[in-house]
Amino acid sequence: MELETLIENFKQKDEKAFETLYNMYSESMQGVIYNIVRDKDIAEEVMQDVFIKAWHNASSYSSEKGRFFTWILNIARNAAIDKTRSKAFKKTKQNLDADFFVDILESSDSLDSSTDAIGIKKFVKKLKEKCKAVIELLYFKGFTQVEASEVLDMPVGTIKTRNRNCIKELRNMVLE
């Protein structure tokens, strides 16, 4: 089925479409959420919140505003970041800002789940240092171009082209 049709059905609260879209994006969302909260149970909790929210707000999605993936990615990032700001979370967790997603890959032993784990690991090992931060901020943390340029102290244009080159490398690795 075409993605457009699927999303249209989802907006009409079609359960089957919801399930299909969940299967397409849930693993990715869980990766994003886990990278922010760094706790399996909390990540699971946030996951539920994210897809429940997506179901309730389905009609607000419009393809003109962006990709469906980007839409749900935004919901996931915001929900996870909100979670880290809650009092209960702050009590139990340290400040995690220093860690990048790559650290998960390099340290985790439980990474048997992902289909492309081996390929990704290879990529990450080869990934240039300067790519790590850019990808972390733009995709995992949801920074805007301007925010990323401020944090990394480089011109906006550089962020754009560097990110392009980093994603190009990634594509060569995973999309063969």
């Binding site: 849930s26 980007t70 392009r164």
Partner: protein, 266 residues
């Protein structure tokens, strides 16, 4: 637009990341619809990012989470569907059927309306045509009545004009109504004048021979009965018809004298 340069700028990577403004998002969306290369590029970037982010997922428990979500949303798979389907179908099918019937009805009405309007237009045109024909018939009748009254009038003198020279086969008749200073010229026996030429009617006195123009017959071809009413206050002794260049001449061109007739003294 340079598609390749646009792709290379890195804007599409930011688009997938959700790092662009609302305005930029709309712009990329429109370009994706327009250029398949751009859409393909976005799909490739998206696919790579999905794989990268998924790789960070700690455990494979998505099915379990899905069940929890569905339980929370009250989506119980097949059970609720069995109950809701028939009613859903009945309403849907009835709705669709009604829509289809309504659409056909509307279409039929519109078609009928168009047909009727076209019929009215045709009738109107026919009516106008008939009115014109009646008006024409009335005016023809009037002309005919006038002619009859002229022919019956004792005071009218008939002067036959005979063909002359090269034009011996032509002829005409003048009916002279002296009391009203007018003549009726019956030019049935003259051929149609060639392009750029007209017939000119002359009143003549014989001694000395003096022609006086009574005018040209400009509507010879279009006139149906070829009878022309012309003013004539002269003491004419003869009438002649010549062919002249359009607009007429000061004096008759004798080489093109078609017909000539003398008024009887009696």
């Amino acid at each position: 637009m340079d598609i390749q340069a646009y792709i290379e700028s890195g804007i599409l990577e930011l688009y997938v990341a959700g790092a662009l403004s609302e305005k930029e998002n709309k712009e990329v969306y429109n370009l994706m619809l327009q250029y398949p290369e751009i859409l393909q590029e976005v799909l490739d970037i998206e696919s790579a990012v999905i794989k990268l982010t998924a790789s960070v997922s700690p455990v494979k428990n998505n099915d379990k989470i899905l069940q929890a979500i569905k339980a929370h949303l009250g989506l119980n798979g097949t059970d609720s569907k069995v109950i809701s389907m028939p009613r859903y179908n009945w309403v849907t099918y009835t709705g669709w059927a009604a829509s289809v019937i309504l659409a056909i009805g509307l279409f039929w009405t519109v078609t009928q309306n168009k047909q009727l309007q076209s019929d009215i237009q045709i009738s109107k045109t026919q009516q106008e045509l008939l009115e014109t024909q009646i008006a024409n018939a009335n005016s023809s009748l009037e002309e005919a009545n006038t002619l009859i009254s002229v022919l019956r009038d004792n005071n009218i003198t008939k002067i036959p004009l005979a063909g002359q020279g090269n034009f011996a086969s032509t002829y005409a008749n003048v009916y002279w109504d002296k009391s009203n200073d007018r003549i009726y010229l019956d030019a049935q026996g003259l051929p149609e004048p060639p392009e750029g030429k007209v017939y000119q009617v002359w009143s003549l006195t014989l001694s000395p021979l003096t022609p006086t123009s009574l005018g040209t017959i400009d509507d010879f071809i279009t006139d149906d009965n070829k009878i022309f009413e012309i003013e004539n206050a002269n003491a004419s002794e003869a009438f002649g018809i010549t062919l002249e260049p359009a607009g007429g001449s000061e004096t008759p061109t004798m080489e093109f004298l078609y017909t000539l007739g003398v008024v009887n003294a009696s």
